[in-house]
């Protein structure tokens, strides 16, 4: 398959069963769906930007505390999760591609979409399992936000106001983790629809939009990882 623009059939006589009555063409329908998705992603980015700004403000106020507290996050766990998420972005892109080139009512092509969705789901699961171990370690050591912070009672002496850092850490990664869970639910839904043979080159906007959502989850982690785990 080359880098060509394929012009999927829009011939006036033949009606695509996936075309809703209020759209003229599939191109218009898919374009509208995608624009809507991008507008939604814009609101997501704006929401996360508030948390990123909170991080930068706290870092600006208490640079030494942030640098001291971030040493207690596991770089290895964060790194593994980054790779897992990047790989899942690849498998999701491949799922979308499989739908783009899938022949209608073709079991084999539908199976390919499903295979990549399963791989993506698997990666999302691994991400959450790693996150679970990270969180339980933080809970165990009392490295918790605000008034729940008890790390000093567990023998961890972090200077400054680390309960604020862990507030930001849990809020950012928690909201991100919530998005991972939602993304998994969406993928299950897309999987079920793929099983019904709904997706092919004639109709793949839903797979594509699910993909866009999943890539956004990856995108946010790309910034979360260096800021929370790595940066000095």
């Amino acid at each position: 398959m080359s880098n060509a623009h394929s012009h999927a059939a829009h011939t006036t006589g033949e009606h695509n069963p996936h075309l809703a009555h209020h759209f003229d063409t599939m191109g218009q329908q898919a374009g509208a769906a995608k624009l809507g998705m991008w507008l939604f992603l814009a609101t997501e980015l704006l929401m996360f930007s508030g948390l990123f700004l909170a991080y930068f403000v706290i870092r600006g106020f208490y640079p030494d505390m942030v640098l001291g507290a971030h040493e207690y996050l596991s770089k290895t766990a964060g790194g593994i999760n980054t790779c897992v998420l990047l790989f899942s972005s690849y498998t999701m892109a491949m799922a979308v591609r499989s739908a783009q080139v899938g022949r209608p009512n073709n079991q084999e092509d539908a199976a390919r979409i499903k295979k990549y969705l399963i791989l993506t789901l698997l990666c999302a699961g691994i991400f959450l399992v790693v996150k679970y171990f990270e969180y339980s370690a933080k809970f165990e050591h009392g490295m918790l936000p605000g008034k729940f912070y008890t790390a000093h009672l567990h023998g961890y002496d972090i200077e400054g106001l680390p309960h604020i850092f862990f507030g930001v850490y849990f809020f950012m990664t928690g909201l991100h983790g919530f998005h991972v869970v939602i993304g998994m639910a969406i993928m299950v839904w897309i999987y079920l629809r793929a099983s019904r043979g709904e997706f092919s080159e004639q109709n793949y906007a839903a797979v594509e939009n699910a993909g866009l959502y999943w890539h956004l989850v990856d995108l946010i982690w790309i910034f979360l990882f260096p800021l929370l785990y790595l940066v000095k």
């Binding site: 704006l46 972005s89 800021l227």
Partner: protein
């Protein structure tokens, strides 16, 4: 289709066809490889002590990674330009959000000192006996608290108290 679609004064051929762009699998593999390499790079760089340069370097690498994801995985490179417009518009608004907030935080202390934000009311009361014009004097309860704290009456001897009272009074306003 009887009605024609025009773009920049020219007739667009087949305007309503689906122009989906299918990237070759190799593209995705190369992008994935580049993302892994860049992740390794940030990871390695975090152990080197770059001092103040480490944040800009990490952000630069993250931005390159994000561009790869947005451009290739999210297809913005080949997509309808309007979607790119929505995305970049979002980034501009995030920039405004960050810019104004951080600018405010940078300049706030100097401004507070310059305008005596936290000290003006008490200093004026202690020096001249002038009650605060707005805020406190409009609220009987707050005015009573204020006067109780400063002894209600004023005159000689308050100059010495002013320093101590002032410090204690707005210690909480500092970070």
């Amino acid at each position: 289709m009887s009605d024609k679609v025009f773009l920049n004064g020219k007739v667009v051929e087949h305007p309503h066809e689906i122009h989906h762009h299918v990237s070759p699998v190799r593209h995705y593999q190369v992008v994935l490889g580049a993302l892994f390499v860049l992740t390794g790079l940030t990871y390695a760089v975090s152990f080197a002590s770059l001092g103040p340069a480490s944040l800009p370097v990490a952000m630069l690498v993250a931005t390159i990674k994000a561009s790869l994801v947005v451009g290739y995985f999210m297809h913005l490179k080949y997509d309808d330009r309007y979607n790119l417009f929505v995305f970049l518009g979002t980034l501009i608004f995030i920039g405004i959000f960050f810019g104004f907030t951080l600018f405010d935080l940078e300049s706030r202390d100097a401004l507070n000192d310059d305008q005596r934000t936290f000290t003006r009311v008490e200093e004026d009361f202690n020096n001249t006996g002038v009650k605060p014009a707005v805020g406190i004097s409009n609220d009987p309860q707050r005015l009573a608290e204020f006067e109780a704290k400063h002894g209600g009456e004023h005159g000689a001897g308050h100059g010495a108290e002013a320093g101590a009272g002032g410090e204690a009074g707005h210690g909480g306003a500092e970070h």
